[in-house]
């Protein structure tokens, strides 16, 4: 028996899908929001430093679980079946809110040049680098909407490199940590422009929820006092409140269904009891993050679309990217640790663009507060690995070190890709994602440069010794929680998957709205951009479908 037909079915309730659900439901569309994970509260999972989304040696707190393997192909061509706790899996949380339940919550607007990389830097050999079909100005109102509706604290007025904003952030920054007080004057002495990182976190009561209590269990955990703002505690409850949106958890979507005339008609999914269901809808939105959205399109094969949806020119799953994280750790002769979360609080954007010798760059910020195992398991040249020397190192420097890190903007590589594996299937019998490829050489040049800048900043701040975070690994493709790029947005259907409004080129009622559509991923954590694009795409979607669902 098929379920009641709705206007829109949205697959995935993360940063993108949650926003789309709320926008459509408020406009009167009937919406079904499908989520493969559960709806967690902070009390469902204990704060566990070995079992969370950041450190998952004993498992992920918020999924996905072992029933969801992937195949990873390393640089020598060997295939590995990897579970979600494996580093090469590129895990993103599977739960209501997606990554936004447990993220660090940095809320960056990309810079104007991030939308114009090819015009700025020219063609880059070995990369499919291109300009976006939209500009920063197109997204600006929606960045603002995300900041005010979901809630951002911080103060970027000292960031002279930032793109113009019409309205300030709705909340002030949290009071500075000790690390912040050490790093700010040092950056100023170097002629840099430090400022308070914008964060999707309540610094004061906002939106009916309280302020951050500054505990050390932040990135990787659900917030104990619900001060971290994700889609699970902002837009999704609002969508449900309208009465137009039904959220269904633990639903595994097998494929997007299409009609003989090439329109999307709905999705087939396995519900929480493992029963196959069919949800028909006027519109289908894939918001499953870069790897799973690509997998879903590729798994949706039919007579008209033998290679999967949107894949006429073999672009679905291409250009998988994330961020090359890099930086340095400074060891001090005095205490720097004050046990105040979230830890990360000060950043510079002096090196996002205009560096010589390579393309783009990234922001640098002090790292999130570190738990003992995170600190003790960190390896780099210059840090003893075990034994009494290691223990002395941890004891001496756990409270006397500052880490400055940043996400280097990666160059998209055509051969870094998501495919569906011909052999391996998940628990539900659906072919799994297969990740293969390599990074671009530019990533290495950029990370070396940024590590050196982090080192200079820490030295100026008084670090007695500075240790580089070590070269990034080139073994296999990038991805991770910042995964992006696999359903590129563009004007030419031959070199992109969706148009400038996130609609799949050859299926007029199918949308991809998440990080997949980013042609490049900025030198920043991408979540606010994903949210802004979701607001932007929803607005255009509703414009083109006036009358649908209006009640």
């Amino acid at each position: 028996m098929s379920l009641k037909h709705v206007n829109a079915v949205i697959v995935g309730s993360g940063a993108g899908g949650g926003v789309v659900a709320k926008e459509l439901a408020e406009a009167g569309f009937s919406v079904v929001l499908l989520e493969r994970g559960k709806w967690f509260t902070p009390f469902d999972e204990r704060k566990d430093d070995l079992r969370n989304q950041r450190t998952c040696v004993l498992g992920n707190a918020f999924g996905p679980d072992e029933r969801n393997p992937r195949v990873y192909v390393d640089s020598s061509g060997h295939e590995h079946i990897v579970s979600p706790t494996h580093g090469a899996y590129s895990n993103n949380a599977a739960c209501v809110g997606g990554g936004t339940l447990s993220y660090g919550a940095m809320a960056w607007r990309f810079m104007e040049r991030d939308f114009r990389l090819r015009s700025t830097y020219g063609t880059v050999e070995g990369s499919t680098l291109d300009d976006w079909p939209i500009t920063y100005a197109d997204l600006e109102p929606y960045y603002e909407k995300a900041e005010w509706e979901i809630g951002v604290s911080g103060d970027d007025s000292n960031n002279i490199f930032r793109a113009p904003r019409k309205r300030p952030l709705p909340m002030p920054p949290l009071p500075p940590t000790r690390e912040h007080q050490i790093l700010r004057p040092a950056a100023q002495r170097l002629g840099l422009h430090p400022f308070d990182i914008p964060m999707l976190r309540n610094s004061v009561p906002y939106n009916g929820r309280g302020a951050c209590m500054r505990c050390r269990w932040c990135v990787g955990f659900a917030c104990e006092v619900d001060a971290k703002c994700g889609t699970h505690n902002t837009v999704i409850p609002r969508a449900i409140q309208t009465g137009n949106c039904e959220l269904r958890c633990e639903c595994i979507v097998r494929e997007i269904l299409t009609s003989e005339r090439g329109h999307a008609t709905g999705v087939a999914y396995y519900d929480s009891n493992g029963r196959l269901q069919e949800q028909t809808a006027d519109l289908v939105v894939a918001s499953c993050a870069a790897i799973e959205s690509a997998r879903l399109l590729l798994n949706s094969k039919s007579r008209l679309f033998p290679n999967g949806l949107g894949n006429r020119y073999d672009w679905v799953g291409r250009n998988l990217q994330g961020h090359a994280y890099t930086g340095a750790i400074g060891l001090f002769d005095h205490e720097t640790y004050d046990d105040l979360g979230p830890g990360a609080s000060i950043a510079i954007c002096d090196f996002n663009h205009g560096n010589s010798g390579f393309v783009s760059g990234g922001m640098l910020a002090n790292e999130f507060i570190r738990l003992p195992y995170q600190f003790a398991s960190r390896t780099a040249a210059g840090i003893p690995r075990w034994g009494a020397a290691h223990k002395d190192f941890v004891r001496r420097y756990y409270r006397s070190s500052i880490s400055v890190m940043g996400p280097m903007q990666e160059m998209p590589v055509f051969d870094s890709r998501v495919q569906v594996d011909p052999k391996v299937k998940d628990h539900w019998g659906i072919p799994v994602a297969r990740l293969s490829g390599h990074r671009h050489r530019n990533d290495l040049l950029g990370t070396n440069f940024m590590s050196a800048k982090a080192e200079a900043w820490l030295k100026e701040a008084g670090a007695a010794t500075v240790i580089h975070s070590g070269p990034i690994s080139f073994d296999g493709p990038s991805g991770g929680q910042h995964q992006a790029g696999t359903c590129r947005m563009g004007n030419d259907p031959k070199t992109s998957v969706v148009d400038k409004f996130c609609r799949v080129h050859d299926v007029d009622n199918l949308y991809v709205i998440d990080g997949s559509v980013h042609p490049n991923n900025g030198g920043f954590n991408p979540v606010l951009t994903i949210m802004a694009i979701a607001y932007y795409a929803s607005a255009n979607l509703m414009k083109t479908r006036k009358g649908m669902g209006a009640t």
Partner: protein, 149 residues
């Protein structure tokens, strides 16, 4: 920005931790427990590796690992780490890989949450002078059960 005065227990515990580390802190207990849980698939790997360590001890010093002097143990461990340990046991599993696993699991057992069987009474957190309770407002539900001994 100077560090505050160290409380008396801090200096005491830091002297104590070195000898306590292996057994007193519950690292072995932690690894045993995980080998029956999330690390189940590593049981064979561990059995094989531990036997091979003793073979190396026998081949080099004529004694199993536990019977060696402290400096000999260190020497042997360095050999494992470099992948140069003698002994027939390291054909199927590389000694460097085994060593890497044991080091990482030891770190987890010593620095991780006591609820998993290691870091007894938060000994490493005390060593790092980390304030307790770990989460404000969650004291009652998160305190470990009192133990005897």
């Amino acid at each position: 920005m100077k560090p505050g005065p160290s409380p008396a227990w801090w200096t005491r515990s830091s002297r104590r931790t070195r000898t306590q580390a292996r057994f007193g802190a519950g690292v072995v207990n932690y690894i045993d427990r995980q080998l029956c849980g999330p690390y189940q698939t590593l049981q064979e790997f561990y059995r094989y590796g531990l036997a091979a360590v003793d073979q190396t001890g026998q081949a080099t010093y004529g004694k199993v690992f536990a019977g060696l002097e402290s400096h000999q143990q260190y020497e042997l461990l360095h050999g494992l780490e470099d992948g140069k340990a003698p002994g027939a046991g390291w054909k199927r599993v590389s000694s460097a890989e085994f060593f890497r696993y044991v080091v990482d699991h030891t770190m987890q057992g010593f620095y991780g949450d006591p609820r998993h069987g290691g870091n007894r009474e938060g000994v490493s957190w005390k060593m790092l002078n980390l304030p307790y309770p770990p989460i404000r407002g969650r004291v009652r539900s998160d305190l470990p059960k009192p133990r005897s001994g």
